[in-house]
């Protein structure tokens, strides 16, 4: 699995976006941060809580100059039907049917043949600045991911449980 500081593998894949099939390329995303979240499968019972959770927080992430991209091994038609089932998703769901992108990020579960629940945040240079993964049966916290995005955007030393309004750590130090 990639770690902070690693260059993010690029992608140019089919995706479902706003009810239609499109393409999504990392090179064409121009926001300050990119949030990539891998999830195991469409039409499951934990993934939709994450997919819709990120969708509900779309505006807050956009306010932080962050583009959200969801990725699973399902094909783009499945993504389309899944997004429709969930009432529409406002960010791209990338189709990675061979799991190549998941492998490039080191989050492909060879036993289950799905991507792990892994989250990567990429900076302006498209280097990984945050990486985390959960077991398949545990969903991620959208609020915590947003907190990390906000903390990353400050460029300051952020103590544990930091959130906007809380004092930063001493300046002029890296950690």
């Amino acid at each position: 699995m990639l770690k902070p500081g690693d260059p993010a593998p690029s992608f140019d894949l089919e995706c479902a976006l706003d009810g239609r099939i499109a393409r999504s390329s990392l090179a064409k995303i121009c926001s300050e941060l990119v949030l990539l979240f891998f999830y195991p499968r469409d039409f499951s019972f934990i993934c939709p809580t994450e997919v819709t959770g990120f969708n509900k927080a779309l505006k807050e992430f956009a306010a932080e100059e962050t583009t959200i991209v969801g990725i699973s091994i399902d094909d783009v038609d499945s993504h389309l039907r899944w997004a429709r089932e969930l009432g529409g998703i406002g960010y791209p769901l990338l189709a990675d049917p061979d799991g190549n992108l998941a492998r490039a990020y080191g989050v492909f579960d060879d036993q289950q043949k799905v991507a792990l629940r892994a989250t990567f945040i990429l900076d302006r240079k498209r280097k990984v600045v945050f990486a985390a993964s959960c077991p398949l049966n545990v969903g991620r916290s959208v609020i915590e991911t947003l907190r990390i995005v906000r903390a990353l955007r400050t460029g300051q030393l952020c103590p544990a449980d930091w959130k906007p309004g809380v004092e930063f750590g001493p300046s002029g130090r890296e950690f």
Partner: protein
């Protein structure tokens, strides 16, 4: 078009659930008693002593098999109920795990992930339906899986008695040192063949005769082995006597 009455079918399945006890009990009763008769006929010369020993063996066997079936079914029911309760508690606390597990099982049975998802989502609107379907699909358990200890015990004990009487009656009624044992063995063979045939008939098998022959082969093997063991230990009886 054939109409199936679910209630009638359910009653039939409940009756058939005792088949295991009936087949097991009759088979064991016939084999045990035939084995005792063969063994003692080789070791003991007095007809009445053989009959008494076989009667004692029959009574002890019926009680033992009945009690064994009762205790076994009761233990199985208690263990399975406890496990099911654990699953229900976990399902209530983490419904996602049950939903995902059930979805996986439905996909393994040929449904597409999308179709399976819709079914599980529909089932999830009724927690009891979700739980019972998940128990059946994920663990192979349902209300009908659990036996009835008292009934199983009684059926098993009675089946053993019925089976034991089959070789015992001709042995008691037919005079003559050779014909009595021969009659018992013929009755044993016919009964075991009949039990095998009956089991095959219940299972709607085309090869009911083969099922009967398999039972017969087991009977002959057990009887022959019992007789040979009796012959082998008879010198010990002579020494002790």
């Amino acid at each position: 078009m054939t109409s199936v009455d679910p209630a009638e079918k359910r009653r039939l399945f409940e009756r058939l659930s005792s088949v295991r006890e009936i087949v097991f009990g009759v088979q064991d009763g016939v084999l045990t008693t035939a084995g005792v008769l063969c063994g003692l006929s080789g070791a003991v010369s007095q007809h009445s002593q053989v009959v008494l020993a076989a009667l004692a063996s029959t009574a002890a066997g019926a009680l033992s098999m009945g009690a064994g079936a009762y205790l076994g079914t009761r233990a199985e029911t208690e263990v399975l109920s406890a496990e099911l309760e654990l699953v229900r508690v976990e399902a209530a606390a983490k419904p996602y795990t049950v939903q995902e597990g059930l979805l996986d099982e439905l996909c393994k049975e040929g449904l597409t992930r999308e179709a399976g998802y819709r079914i599980v989502r529909l089932l999830s609107t009724a927690p009891k339906a979700l739980a019972s379907t998940a128990e059946a699909k994920m663990f192979g358990l349902s209300g009908g899986t659990f036996g009835r200890p008292a009934l199983d015990g009684i059926v098993m004990g009675l089946a053993f008695l019925v089976g034991a009487v089959v070789p015992l009656l001709p042995y008691m009624l037919i005079p003559g040192p050779r014909y009595d044992l021969g009659g018992a063995l013929v009755a044993t063979a016919l009964t075991l063949f009949g039990v095998g045939y009956f089991a095959g008939w219940l299972a709607h098998r085309d090869d009911r005769w083969r099922s009967g022959v398999r039972f017969l082969a087991i009977a002959m093997s057990a009887a022959a082995a019992g007789y040979l063991i009796g012959l082998a230990i008879s010198p010990l009886g002579a020494t002790a006597g």
